[in-house]
């Protein structure tokens, strides 16, 4: 069945392709003064963290030099959890409000979550090889993290499927609901099961991490949180621009269709 399109079917307040402010004007980036300031602060933070983590801190009494990996490994995992938390929040809000804004938040943060889950897995493997004698073991923490990675990749693959954006957003949101439960599973796996992976270090009874080592670890969490915020803002804007490009293409197709149907 074909649908006839008429010029008056387009709302008057909606700019037509080619109208309005020229594309050439305005900033050509997703940045703003605030994101630039945040970016500089994050870069300075990483420089400081690299100095402290690689040279400025003493080695650990138990782990030796390998403790230096723990200034980036749990921090990467935390950013991954943050990404999953906001992706699930965005999914819930999309299903409730049907808001494009929340759909894009979910998309942006899920991608960041996937990137940092990969970092957490890789740095964990690099720590495990000299510590445990193997890169990988089917331990509850490692297995549940691998499941989280697969879930995130599935979510991102679903978002790339062609079709109605609203249907795709709804389907993605349903998958997005599974992310936080999976994060809880990852987080609690070391207490629910006997695992090779150690229990949470900072909340472990009797754990002794203090002084510059503790400061560096907490400073790392702050710097990585800043990076997460910076990436989320930029990635959200990219997702929003991509949606605008898609909508412009639809507008142009409608205009072309109207032009075809206009009697000469």
């Amino acid at each position: 069945m074909t649908t006839e399109l008429h010029a008056d079917s387009i709302p008057d307040d909606r700019p037509r392709p080619g109208e309005g402010t020229p594309i050439d004007s305005g900033p050509h980036s997703t940045g703003s003064p605030a994101t630039r300031a945040l970016g500089i602060a994050v870069l300075a933070g990483f420089a400081m963290l690299a100095y402290l983590g690689l040279a400025g801190t003493p080695e650990d009494q138990v782990q030796g030099e390998l403790v230096r990996l723990l200034y980036v490994h749990p921090q990467s995992a935390t950013v991954a959890y943050l990404g999953c938390f906001f992706a699930t929040t965005g999914s819930v809000m999309y299903l409730w409000k049907r808001s494009v804004w929340w759909d894009l938040v979910a998309h942006a943060t899920a991608e960041i979550g996937a990137v940092f889950t990969a970092f957490a897995l890789i740095t964990g493997m690099l720590w495990g090889r000299p510590s445990w004698g193997t890169y990988w073991v089917w331990d509850a923490r490692l297995t549940s993290t691998a499941m989280l990675m697969l879930l995130l990749l599935g979510y991102l693959a679903l978002r790339k499927l062609p079709g109605d954006p609203d249907v795709r957003a709804r389907q993605s949101a349903i998958v997005g609901l599974l992310l936080v439960p999976n994060v809880i599973l990852v987080r609690q796996s070391v207490t629910w099961w006997r695992t090779l992976h150690q229990a949470p270090t900072l909340s472990l009874p009797g754990a002794q991490i203090e002084g510059l080592l503790l400061f560096t670890m907490m400073f790392g969490f702050a710097v990585f949180s800043g990076l997460f915020l910076w990436l989320t803002i930029h990635r959200f804007r990219v997702a929003w621009l991509a949606r605008q490009v898609d909508e412009l293409a639809v507008d142009e197709a409608i205009t072309a269709r109207i032009a075809e149907g206009t009697p000469r």
Binding site: G53, L69, V72, L126, P130
Partner: protein, 57 residues
């Protein structure tokens, strides 16, 4: 291999990977913003007269 190899590799993965991902995001944003009129480059819209990622009717 010495522990230094694993430590340096881990830091390179995280710092290098973060820098690479950030660069990809920024460059993609620049490329897309060239294709979108400035009035549509709004990250949030409170005005019903302007297109933006508002709630569906």
């Amino acid at each position: 291999m010495s522990n230094t190899f694993y430590i340096v590799a881990g830091w390179i993965v995280v710092l290098g990977g973060s820098a690479a991902y950030a660069t990809i995001v920024v460059l993609r944003g620049r490329a897309l913003s060239l294709r979108v009129p400035v009035e549509r480059r709004r990250w949030s819209s409170s005005s019903p007269n302007l297109p933006g990622p508002t709630d569906r009717p």
